[in-house]
């Protein structure tokens, strides 16, 4: 029997987003035993996750407390981790899948698994994930799709899911009935929180929106979140008693799941409860500000709406140094209210057009693209930008090149038809009269691709020279140092070239990450690994050029 461990040392919302992958594993390996490793602050969520047989919790809080306050912190933490992973290793997992986008996950996966080298079992998709999460803005696909790829699953269209117990559903149902909410009542949920300031739409906007909803839509409202997010709640409960129920700070994850099940629409910032809603089949109207963008973490599934500010700087690369967070005010209560009416089907087509034409916001609808990736397409057809085009191209690119480098892993390479699929999908959702301009922008990139390949070629040659020098029984140290310096200089050239191919900068991010994790062995061993990294970069650029060529031929027809 296969024994699989999924390492997910992230937060609440990220774990909910793992559920399609967990379901997929169980369906591909029905006889397998699927285990999950999470931080103990997410333990309550684990019993709700479908597709897992058992879970393990790492005492994250204790580790932090020991390292933060305990003079013997290293000793205690070492002993704890040694014992914890020692026990886990005894489980002899055949496969360990890390979907934690940082090295805590990578190392934990190594410690729990059977591998002999720290980085040898990191899947190509995981490397891609880690390298792009360091450059979040550039992620071209939804993390749920990425998680599936990282697990080696070729699956699409599986949406998140959480299971609460019948008793909890009954409890939620009884409580709502007690509040005068029955099946015929439109129940609108609201979640005003978010993990950082830049993600949180201002409270006064939420209040204004709620007042409009209460005055214009026959419904009841239910507020979710934690107790500290009580400004909106206090105001609404005081001014609209009977119409608003506050569940702030009152629900366990299971209860939240049950209440969300009875909620018709959730209006929310990009947050954990947003993912819970998608896992309960609740329609979502989500707001994505700061560095968040719906394409990466929006409400998964079909028919949800997402609003983003229409600003050149969104999604933000530097939220910590932005003084204004103006993006949060670009989205007005008016536009959110109009979007809600669209979602409820209470808006005429003319109004929808008017909303989509509004300056300051962009309205997207969720659905799956023609290759099965989650997508957020404009509600009304609009011109496609080169950045957006590059997203569709990259989905094909990475599905091909990462599958290729993943010998023996489950995700097959996307075929030739994938580009045709993109082309058709673009035609369906976008105007294509800007094709000449898009082609011009593509052509500007081509010489930079050539230059980049030349640089990578030089890197390969240098790596070979290092290898030869290293083979010498008495290595010439100064020669090796000189070669290493030359390689470092080349990497700077690669980084500079990355600035010239910005829409496809992920190529560089992944290249740099792959170089970073080359693991020490002999100098010759490292030289071989280095050469491979340069070669892979060249082959990826070739693939990208081929995709571009095919796509623009189709678009120019």
């Amino acid at each position: 029997m296969e024994s699989i461990l999924v390492v997910n040392l992230t937060r609440f919302g990220d774990i909910v987003q793992t559920t399609p992958m967990l379901q997929g594993l169980k369906s591909v390996y029905p006889e397998s035993r699927v285990s999950l490793l999470v931080n103990n602050n997410c333990e309550q969520l684990c019993s709700l996750l479908p597709g897992i047989d058992e879970y393990y919790t790492l005492d994250f809080k204790q580790i932090c407390t020991d390292l933060h306050n305990n003079p013997a912190g290293i000793e205690q933490t070492y002993s704890y981790l040694k014992e914890f992973f020692g026990k886990l290793r005894l489980r002899n997992f055949n496969k360990v899948i890390n979907i934690t986008p940082h090295h805590i996950g990578v190392i934990s996966a190594f410690l729990a698994g059977q591998g002999n080298r720290l980085n040898e079992n990191i899947s190509a998709w995981t490397k891609f994930f880690i390298s792009t999460t360091r450059n979040w803005k550039t992620l071209p696909m939804h993390v749920i799709d990425l998680y599936s790829k990282m697990a080696g699953l070729d699956q699409h269209l599986i949406v998140p899911k959480l299971n609460a117990s019948q008793e909890t559903y009954q409890f939620a149902s009884n409580m709502l009935q007690h509040q005068g909410i029955d099946e015929g009542t439109l129940l609108l949920g609201l979640h005003t929180g978010g993990s950082t300031d830049e993600k949180r739409w201002p409270q006064e906007h939420f209040i204004e929106l709620c007042e409009r909803i209460i005055k214009n839509i026959s419904c009841k409202m239910i507020l979710y979140g934690v107790e500290t997010e009580n400004n909106v709640s206090t105001y609404l409960l005081k001014n609209y008693p009977g119409q608003v129920i506050s569940m702030l700070g009152k629900t366990t994850p299971e209860e939240l799941t049950a209440f969300m099940h009875y909620t018709d629409v959730l209006i929310t910032n990009d947050s954990g409860p947003m993912h819970v809603a998608t896992a309960c089949g609740t329609k979502v109207l989500s707001l994505h500000t700061g560095k968040e963008k719906c394409i990466s973490t929006g409400p998964y599934g079909e028919g949800n709406l997402a609003i983003e500010p229409d600003m050149a700087c969104h999604p933000c690369e530097f939220p910590e140094s932005c003084h204004s967070l103006e993006c949060r005010n670009r989205i007005t209560p008016d536009s959110v209210f109009a979007a809600l009416e669209i979602l409820l089907g209470a808006h005429s087509e003319t109004h929808t057009e008017a909303l989509c034409a509004q300056k300051g916001v962009q309205l997207f609808c969720s659905g799956f693209d023609a290759n099965g990736f989650m997508d957020f397409y404009p509600l009304q057809k609009k011109d496609i930008s080169f950045e957006k085009l590059s997203v569709y191209m990259q989905r094909v690119l990475w599905s091909r090149v990462l599958a290729e480098t993943e010998a023996g892993y489950g995700v097959p390479r996307l075929g030739e038809k994938a580009v045709v699929n993109i082309y058709r999908y673009i035609q369906k959702h976008y105007h294509t009269h800007t094709v000449p301009d898009l082609l011009r922008q593509w052509n500007v990139l081509l010489p930079h691709f050539i230059q980049l390949k030349r640089t990578a070629g030089k890197g390969g040659v240098l790596a070979d020279e290092v290898h030869s020098a290293g083979m010498n029984p008495v290595p010439n140290i100064s020669r090796l140092q000189h070669l290493t310096q030359q390689l470092e200089a080349l990497d700077n050239e690669v980084i500079s070239a990355g600035e010239m191919i910005k829409p496809f900068k992920n190529l560089i991010h992944l290249f740099l990450y792959e170089k970073e994790i080359i693991e020490g062995g002999s100098i010759t061993d490292m030289a071989v690994q280095t050469r491979t990294v340069y070669e892979v970069l060249v082959s990826r650029i070739n693939e990208l050029e081929a995709i571009g060529q095919q796509l623009f031929i189709l678009m120019n027809r």
Binding site: H68, H102, F110, H323, G520
Partner: protein, 610 residues
């Protein structure tokens, strides 16, 4: 480098500050610096990956910087505006349009050099004064604006600068840099288990939140019921004391545990809020500032002597002789902080007829039946007089006037009583006087609360009342029963005068005596005395392996790693040293090495959150 631009800039600086110009000429630009282009084509400096300006539109961000700061802090004509950080000057240029002297403190000479190489700054140099050292500032600037990216890369210098400013403006805290004084502070408030100051903790919580701080209330009143049961047990005194101590330790541990998790900048406890000496010591080790607001009469609650020296800051509702006593026991950071009102709770209310029926009367008193009140109110029983509150003597004739059979009155009903009574009697409690305490030296919360409600009150004379209200105009006092009766009779027949006085008192409360004012004052005082306590807590240093030998005796697989680490450091190795030793060796990462690297990752995560 654009030589012409650089020379042009240097020439401009030589005219204004030749010494600085020489220093810039001889400075070299650090390799950590990177000049990148913003999206709109302007050069931007990055230091250790921190971008000093917007990478989209630095000029627009510069204009926003001015507007954002002016919205927070007004600049008067004649004020010197000091900006901490020049960078490439995008945020400074808009300030030159103000009719004020602008001084820019750029702590890094090489930033100046880099800026001079990239941008023509000659005009800007002429319009402002540039200095590179805090000591060059002749005096503390009236207005200080901090360029946050510069602060990030120069935290210690910025601290020096704010210290300089605090020292010079001890009497005027409003001139503190808004970015410092308005820094969002994380505060844990500990309420008492029971007692009159319990609601005050809630008022403080709300006020601090309103000031924009992050506040968590640890409500110890949840233990009131078991605590009262223990008090009511007929057991010997020693056992009662032991049980009391257990409560104290239980709640103290809750506070410490909450602090470990919540990591507040400050813990604020109020009268009788239980914190054991051990807990206070622990908070001190955790580098958490502790403050206590003693809202009781020190003469009747002597327990303060035991605890006052253990807190970093001690706030009192009495001064003068109490301060002498605090000094005598070694307390240094004490401050007078009178009681106040919460206008969100204590406000004017339109009452229904039913409420007027129940709560209305010519005169009323709301409060507990202390000895002096029982005695004095004997003399008021011929009036339409309603008494509200508990602990009144059922055998006394006064009892006939006590409402609701002496039940405790909720805050909502208290506000209704204040609003419904024509005259509210306010008599500070005493257990030893027949009526007014002639030595009364603090003002009770009821004085402010009544005023905040726009309710008229007659209050007993207090020696310091005139510091808070204009006696005779905003508030009327009485010195004894005879005086009180005369004033009741007068004001019952002078409605307009009564209402006007009450309104003036209300205005004064709104201007000066809300809990928001008190909390602001409290934080300002703390910042003046300990300027870095909220700004930058000294981060706990990385943990180290104190006893390497014991470590590898227990974990023999670590022997070679720790031996390597020991060779790389003189003292006890920390996790960085161990990680460096692991990375320096050849060959794949082994299992115990991975355990250390995992600890290193966690440590790094913590550092980022510190």
């Amino acid at each position: 480098m654009n030589k012409t631009v650089f020379e042009h800039n240097i020439a401009a600086l030589q005219k204004k500050n030749p010494v600085l110009a020489e220093q810039v000429l001889s400075a070299s630009v650090s390799q950590e610096y990177q000049v990148v282009m913003s999206k709109n084509g302007l050069p931007v400096l990055k230091i250790n990956r921190i971008s000093l300006h917007s990478l989209y539109d630095p000029e627009k961000e510069g204009r926003s910087f001015l507007q954002a700061h002016l919205a927070k802090q007004s600049v008067q004509p004649g004020d010197t505006v000091c900006i901490f950080g020049l960078g490439f000057g995008y945020h400074v240029r808009p300030f030159t349009e103000l009719p004020n002297r602008v001084v820019v403190l750029e702590p890094r000479l090489d930033v100046l050099r880099c800026a001079f190489e990239q941008i023509d700054m000659a005009g800007l140099i002429e319009a402002i004064t540039i200095c590179c050292d805090v000591s060059e500032l002749q005096r503390a600037p009236e207005v200080l604006f901090a360029h946050q990216p510069t602060v990030k890369v120069n935290q210690s210098v910025f601290k020096q600068l704010t210290e300089k400013e605090n020292c010079s403006s001890a009497s005027n805290t409003t001139s503190l840099d808004s970015t410092v004084s308005k820094k969002k502070i994380r505060i844990l408030i500990v309420s008492p288990i029971y007692g009159g100051s319990l609601p005050v903790t809630r008022y403080c919580t709300d006020a601090l939140k309103e000031l924009g701080h992050e506040v968590q209330l640890l409500d110890a009143s949840m233990f009131n019921e078991p605590f009262q049961k223990v008090l009511g047990m007929k057991i010997d005194t020693n056992s009662t004391r032991v049980l009391n101590d257990l409560f104290l330790h239980l709640i103290s541990e809750m506070v410490v545990g909450t602090c470990l998790d919540y990591a507040p900048d400050m813990v604020l406890a109020l009268s009788q809020a239980p914190l054991s000496p051990q807990a206070l010591q622990r908070l001190n080790e955790l580098n958490i500032t502790t403050a206590f607001w003693f809202v009781e009469d020190y003469k009747y609650m002597p327990y303060w002597k035991q605890y006052a020296p253990l807190y970093d800051f001690y706030f009192t509702i009495q001064d003068d002789r109490f301060f002498d006593e605090l000094r005598d026991i070694g307390v240094q950071n004490y401050c007078y902080l009178p009681m106040a009102a919460d206008p969100g709770v204590h406000n004017e209310t339109n009452l229904s007829q039913e409420d007027m029926q129940e709560f209305g009367s010519d005169i009323s008193f709301m409060g507990a039946g202390y000895y002096n009140r029982q005695k004095m109110f004997h003399g008021l029983l011929d009036f339409d007089f309603k008494i509200w509150g508990n602990e009144w003597d059922m055998r006394s004739p006064v009892w006939q006037h006590v409402q609701r059979s002496g039940a405790r009155i909720s805050t909502d009903d208290t506000v209704k009583i204040f609003n419904a009574s024509k005259i509210n009697i306010n008599l500070h409690s005493s257990v030893s006087h027949e009526g007014v305490n002639p030595q009364g030296d603090f003002v009770n919360p009821r004085t402010y609360e009544l005023a905040s409600c726009g309710a008229f009150q007659l209050v007993d004379e207090r020696s310091i009342l005139n510091r808070h209200f204009a006696v005779g105009e905003e508030i009327i006092t009485y010195k004894d029963l005879e005086d009180l009766r005369a004033k009741i009779e007068y004001f019952l027949t002078h409605d307009d005068e009564r209402l006007a006085i009450a309104q003036r008192a209300k205005k004064r409360v709104m201007q000066e005596h809300t809990y928001k004012h008190r909390m602001e004052h409290m934080l300002s005082f703390i910042q003046q005395r300990k300027p870095d306590c909220f700004y930058q807590k000294s981060a706990p240093s990385s943990p180290v392996i104190h006893d390497v030998e014991a470590f590898y005796t227990k974990h023999p697989e670590t022997t070679s790693i720790l031996s390597d680490a020991l060779r790389r450091t003189q003292g006890a190795p920390n996790i960085d040293t161990v990680a460096a030793a692991i990375h320096a060796k050849q060959g794949p990462i082994e299992y115990p090495e991975a355990l250390f690297l995992l600890i290193k990752e966690y440590e790094q995560l913590l550092q980022e959150h510190r």
